[in-house]
Symmetry: C2
């Protein structure tokens, strides 16, 4: 038999957990610039037989992320990476790569868009994305405070305690309003279809990051956030524009994060900036490739 | 960190090579019946960023095969399998799973369609598919002769020698016509865009299997094969019908292999039967699932 060996490797969440957040942020900086220049191709996602695929790649590396939409107890994802010679480098299985990627993009956006002195992070939501976001931002900026709110008191206190264990000055808050009033970096990380804050609660000069729903008929932030923002940025204008049913910022100018990296925007002291996180396709593949290189 | 273990496993061509052909044939029998009953879903293939995906699954197991279309030295494929709980069971990487699957379907079709006494296998083509096909047919039927032709004398003799090592009575032939005249099981396994045989060479009562091109403007067999066949069968009428540009049997009735399993066709002694192998989607996932169960 003409048997051929493979050096492909399989990584899991334990391997992902060892990858430094700061390195993920630098990878996302390179990825966002590659997408802006057209070197990173990231076509629209595909759907078939309970599976969704987001493919992407550069001349050096390509692959895809696949996740399923069946109603099951587990939701393992798979990211498969090929090298330029056409060999599979490896696969990353589990649920941790996505939050590492998304949080690194959020931290990068914070570096580019927020007041450099802003160091009071507020989190609405206490799930995986909220936790990953706090750790990623903390890897690029020393935080003076992290304030956490979610509806379940036990969950918000648990996340605050977990972040304290990670060395962050985290406390839980009794309301979303309290979080807003204590923060100049405000991150919404919920699955809420209805606004979880009011725009009046947002302090001038705050950078707002929204990780959750931003569709026209389903959004975790108030509809008038678009009107009060001096600058709205997304990691992928193409993916944002392709939202089924549209998104809340369809009538406002939305810049790409890559364009902001190439041409940093001028921020005035009281400007409210907004980052619409959509998960630039292809970035999972580049992050998985880096993981396969170090793990 | 909320790290979660995974029991997912990674198999390569070496693992695939250990899987018995006869077991693969029985799996394909079950898969073809599941496709016929609608239990195996196998939607159209998807394309994005140099990658092609064929997804498929049953209530118990689902996943996909992915292969790339870049012009590279290697062409590793990946098959990822999820279980019913939503966990990734594992991945099979390499190039061997596809030929094991395709050859098992071809052997199954031989069992169902060929004269039970037919035992003289002819191969036009000497590549991976030809080799796999001979071994798969030999796993379900004792062969009296295997005759191999391909344009390169060294390659056809090498395959004959390799099959002799595997215990088959294989010889190479000097022409495609000689193969046809010596065979009642005739398999075309080329990438040829032009016919590699003439219909006049095919002996009455022969079962013909075509693994290569069968498009209207690109076909390894003569156009009049459609007219001389008493029965034409494919593993997936839907996939055959979806061929871009159409296929040569568009005007002839083509039965599904699953229907023939449920209602075996009556064969007359001189009937020529044709199996159009298209690679029923979803079968790679079921085969990978079985491999993960035994490896």
């Amino acid at each position: 038999m003409n048997v051929r060996d493979s050096n492909a490797r399989l990584l899991t969440d334990a391997d992902v957990a060892r990858f430094p957040n700061a390195a993920a942020v630098e990878l996302m900086r390179a990825a966002v610039l590659a997408a802006e220049s057209g070197e990173l191709s990231a076509p629209a996602r595909l759907h078939a037989a309970d599976l969704t695929f987001t493919a992407g790649g550069t001349p050096q590396v390509f692959g895809f992320r696949a996740y399923h939409t069946r109603d099951t107890p587990h939701d393992d994802q798979a990211v498969v990476v090929w090298d330029a010679s056409g060999r599979v480098r490896g696969i990353v299985i589990g649920g941790a790569l996505g939050p590492l990627r998304t949080s690194a993009l959020g931290a990068l956006a914070t570096q580019v868009l927020a007041d450099p002195a802003a160091a009071r992070l507020g989190l609405i939501g206490s799930g995986t994305q909220a936790r990953a976001h706090a750790l990623a931002v903390a890897s690029v900026r020393e935080l003076e405070a992290v304030t956490v709110y979610s509806r379940d008191p036990a969950r918000r206190e648990a996340l605050a305690a977990e972040l304290r264990c990670a060395g962050l000055p985290a406390v839980s808050a009794a309301s979303a309003r309290e979080v807003c009033e204590n923060s100049n970096l405000l991150t919404l990380a919920t699955n809420s279809a209805a606004p979880v804050i009011e725009t009046g609660w947002i302090r001038p000069g705050t950078h707002v990051c929204t990780l959750g729903p931003k569709e026209r008929n389903r959004h975790e932030f108030p509809a008038d956030l678009a009107g009060m923002a001096a600058l709205v940025v997304t990691d992928s204008p193409a993916q944002l524009a392709a939202y089924p049913g549209g998104h809340l910022f369809a009538d406002a100018p939305v810049r790409s994060l890559g364009a902001c990296l190439n041409d940093p925007p001028v921020r005035h002291a009281h400007d409210i900036t907004v980052f619409l996180s959509v998960g630039l396709a292809g970035t999972e593949v580049l992050l998985a490739d880096a993981l396969l290189g170090v793990s």
